[in-house]
């Protein structure tokens, strides 16, 4: 089994304890943080293992890239501390079991875009921005063969990721892709951050969707008409696994002339959408999730956004109805980019829901 590359000396000598002191969901001072993280390092129980809402953010906060979140999930699993109640854990484990036969493997020998477990979102990768790209995982019946499995970080089941992810990588590799553009940054985080942390070999080059969109927009620059509209960005938890790609949000917005509104909960200070929190075992989790959603929505509204852009389909599903109720249009980054090159309009997005 793959082992986490974790350097405990970095934690012993760390003076920031940023992994816990910056946590948006726990109020922890430096001394407590030091004590608790060292307990976790030693494999002892800590209240952090019980209180953690699994927002991934400490992966970004750690100044040394020492993977505190992966360590927390390792320890949760070892000590039998599941953030979600057991029936939801069982459901989650079952959800990604492929049951419609094997995928059809065609050798592509070129760039591909991988929809992962979001085959139903094929309509989000249309038009000139995606010309020349082959799609893998376009069949909803077979999509779990391409599912990166990282979701199990929310369920205290890191062993499942280690067990299943190599098979997924093997399936993708059989397509002989030159590079794999990851539709969701959770997949990108799996093939970069997680695989690096566990020494899992990835024989293809993963590309973050935003980086890809930026490079395509540069090539299509002549078609761009500035959008000139105020847009908010809802950062997902999986973005914490690849913070170096987060800067492409700004770059894309600048290129397409969209005005990125200033939010209280943005960048490092972002709040998750609350989806994974609502079902957690800890008392009051449902209300806590609603409160987080309220904060996000009010923040987006107060920032003056007319549109809110998502990368994560789960965040989109969680917040889009509430946004629409406030006349803010929810959309995906790819669709926002398509608007800028005149392929679709805001009205199309409104109409399509």
């Amino acid at each position: 089994m793959f082992e986490l590359k974790f350097n405990q000396d970095l934690c012993y000598h760390c003076n920031t304890q940023a992994c816990l002191t910056k946590c948006k969901f726990m109020d922890i001072d430096n001394a407590t943080a030091k004590n608790e993280i060292l307990k976790i390092v030693r494999g002892e129980d800590s209240f952090v293992l019980h209180e953690c809402v699994t927002c991934y953010a400490c992966e970004e906060y750690c100044p040394y890239g020492n993977h505190p979140f992966y360590l927390i999930v390792e320890r949760q699993e070892a000590l039998g501390i599941t953030p979600q109640p057991l029936p939801l854990v069982k459901r989650a484990i079952n959800i990604s079991i492929p049951f419609r036969g094997e995928p059809e493997i065609n050798e592509i020998n070129g760039p591909v875009i991988n929809l992962g477990a979001f085959s139903q979102l094929k309509n989000k990768i249309q038009g000139k921005l995606f010309d020349g790209l082959s799609i893998i995982s376009s069949d909803e019946r077979k999509m779990f063969h391409y599912f990166c499995q990282l979701m199990y970080l929310h369920y205290g089941k890191i062993s499942l990721i280690k067990e299943r992810l190599p098979n997924v990588i093997s399936t993708i590799t059989k397509h002989k892709p030159a590079e794999v553009i990851c539709f969701h940054d959770e997949c990108y985080g799996a093939y970069t951050s997680f695989c690096n942390a566990y020494g899992i070999s990835v024989p293809f080059r993963p590309v973050h969707l935003f980086e890809y969109l930026f490079s395509r927009l540069i090539k299509l620059r002549d078609l761009i008409k500035p959008i000139n509209i105020k847009v908010a960005y809802q950062r997902p938890c999986s973005s914490r696994l690849c913070p170096d790609k987060h800067l492409y949000v700004n770059r894309i917005f600048e290129l397409i002339g969209a005005v990125l509104v200033k939010r209280q909960f943005s960048d490092e200070n972002a709040l998750c959408c609350g989806l994974t929190i609502q079902g957690q075992k800890k008392e009051g989790s449902r209300k806590r999730a609603l409160e987080i959603q309220r904060k996000n929505i009010e923040d987006i509204e107060m920032a003056g956004a007319e549109v809110c852009v998502f990368n994560c389909p789960a965040c989109f599903d969680t917040l889009s109805i509430k946004l629409k109720e406030r006349n803010i249009i929810p959309t995906f980054m790819s669709d926002l980019c398509r608007i800028s090159i005149g392929e679709i309009s805001f009205n199309d997005i409104k109409m399509s829901g």
Binding site: T82, Q84, P85, L86, P87, L88, K90, R91, A92, N94, I95, I97, F99, L275, Q278, G279, K281, E283, G284, S285, R286, K287, L290, I321
Partner: protein, 452 residues
């Protein structure tokens, strides 16, 4: 020339009458596993008077009559077991009246679920009916006649509990009315006149319901579905008891199925909630998920999966995708809630025995006075072997319903016989007498509920 055909053409017009093989073939089967039987004629009347004339013709010539609504019962209830005339009622599709203040609708018997939903949405957005989740082409009357249940079954019971008046053409050709409409004073109540419960649950063997008045209910601005997941089937009766004690949900459904894998071995309890404001919705959510079910979450026994502001209809038809050929049929049992664990375990066993992925669904009726528990079996329409397996599974399940102390809902002929064999002798005798008086020639949907 065929004199019956000519007489039927005289009644409804040539374009609404047929004895062509390619057209009567369509009326020879339904979507379940029942053996097809061809009618001799198909006729589609537009008025009560036309129906009356068809009935008189059938009576005079002693020809079987099989009324047909949407034809979607799956149990073969409108298959002409003894040939004769199929009366396709889909042209009887007028929505005659919607009384907003008294919350009822008077409709003809061919009005479809989709038609009524769309009409109410457009013209009476504050009103809704108990919608069964059947295909939109299913008729409202058909669901009521078979004692169906809809998405307001939890607070208000069976769809047939929501009837406020009926107009019926008897096998004699007489037209009768039941309820306040019999006094000419509107269609607002079926009580307090002497009870004439002769037409619901009789599978159209006692007459043809042509008009009906049904209760409508407040359509709240927000309607949505929340889901709670449990692994231990033994907990379901207790959880349902607690949820129904709140008297808050509009609809409660429990399902478990082998495919897709997330549902295997787990019980998803979907709870529909309705509210006119976010404040009201949150009040209801708090009572259900936090106050009532919080202890199960805390003890690792159940999990809250979330709430979406859309109504999720039961979609057991998806089962038909499991095997090639798109076929499925189910046995519905009206069961005591306490039997849920046995219904689930034994249903899985029957499915596994016949190599069919299991699918079970339960809808709670009338504050948990009972549930409609459905065991669904998929088959390939082009593969006689899988049809045979499904049929055997269905028969075994009919027997299971009886064994567990339930009542088979809309039974096919096999299930009807099981019920009749066990019916209280006094009840059976009275039913025979009623049938003899009302349909002495036995022309109404013969083959079904044959007591004589």
């Amino acid at each position: 020339m065929d004199s019956i055909y000519n007489a039927l053409c005289d009644i409804v017009g040539k374009e609404y009458c047929s004895n062509l093989p390619e057209e009567i073939y369509i009326y020879s089967y339904d979507l379940g596993t029942a053996e097809p039987k061809k009618p001799d004629y198909v006729v589609s009347p537009r008025t009560v008077e036309e129906i009356q004339k068809i009935v008189l013709l059938a009576r005079d010539k002693n020809i079987p009559l099989v009324p047909l609504g949407g034809g979607l019962s799956l149990a073969g209830l409108a298959i002409p077991q003894k040939g004769g005339i199929v009366i396709d009622l889909k042209r009887m599709d007028s929505i005659i009246e919607v009384n907003e203040r008294a919350r009822y609708a008077v409709i003809e018997c061919g009005v479809s679920q989709g038609q009524l939903i769309s009409y109410l949405k457009k013209h009476h957005p504050n009103l809704t009916h108990s919608e069964p989740g059947a295909p939109p082409a299913a008729t409202v009357a058909g669901n009521i006649i078979i004692h169906g249940q809809g998405d307001l079954a939890h607070p208000y019971g069976f769809s047939s509990d929501m009837v406020l008046g009926l107009e019926v053409v008897l096998p004699s050709g007489d037209i009768i009315r039941i309820g306040s409409c019999a006094l000419g004073s509107g269609w607002f109540t079926i009580h307090p006149l002497p009870d004439i419960g002769l037409f619901l649950g009789w599978c159209r063997t006692t007459g043809i319901i042509t008009k009906l008045s049904i209760k409508l209910f407040p359509a709240k601005k927000i309607r949505g579905t929340g889901t709670f997941v449990v692994e231990d089937e033994e907990l379901i009766p207790e959880i349902i008891y607690k949820i129904t004690h709140t008297q808050i949900p509009e609809d409660i459904i429990v399902y478990s199925r082998a495919i897709p894998p997330f549902a295997k071995g787990l019980h998803h309890i979907t709870v529909n909630l309705a509210a006119d404001s976010e404040k009201e919705l949150e009040f209801k959510q708090e009572l259900i998920w936090d106050d009532t079910l919080g202890e199960y979450i805390k003890n690792d026994l159940g999990g809250y999966l979330g709430f979406t502001k859309e109504l999720e209809r039961p979609q057991i038809s998806k089962t038909s995708d499991y095997k090639k050929g798109g076929g499925f049929e189910y046995v519905g049992g009206i069961m005591p809630i306490d039997t849920y664990p046995q219904c689930y375990i034994r249903g899985r066993e029957i499915s596994e025995k016949h190599d069919i992925p299991y699918t079970v669904t339960a809808r709670i009726i009338g504050l948990a006075h009972s549930m409609m528990f459905a065991w669904t079996y998929a088959f390939n329409r082009a593969d006689e072997e899988t049809i045979k397996k499904a049929r055997e599974a269905l028969y075994e399940t009919d027997e299971l319903v009886i064994e567990l102390g339930g009542v088979i809902w809309k039974p096919g002929i096999y299930g009807q016989r099981l019920v009749m064999d066990r019916l209280h002798p006094g009840t059976k005798n009275l039913m025979k007498k009623i049938k003899t008086i009302i349909d002495p020639l036995g022309i109404m949907n013969p083959g079904n509920w044959e007591l004589l």
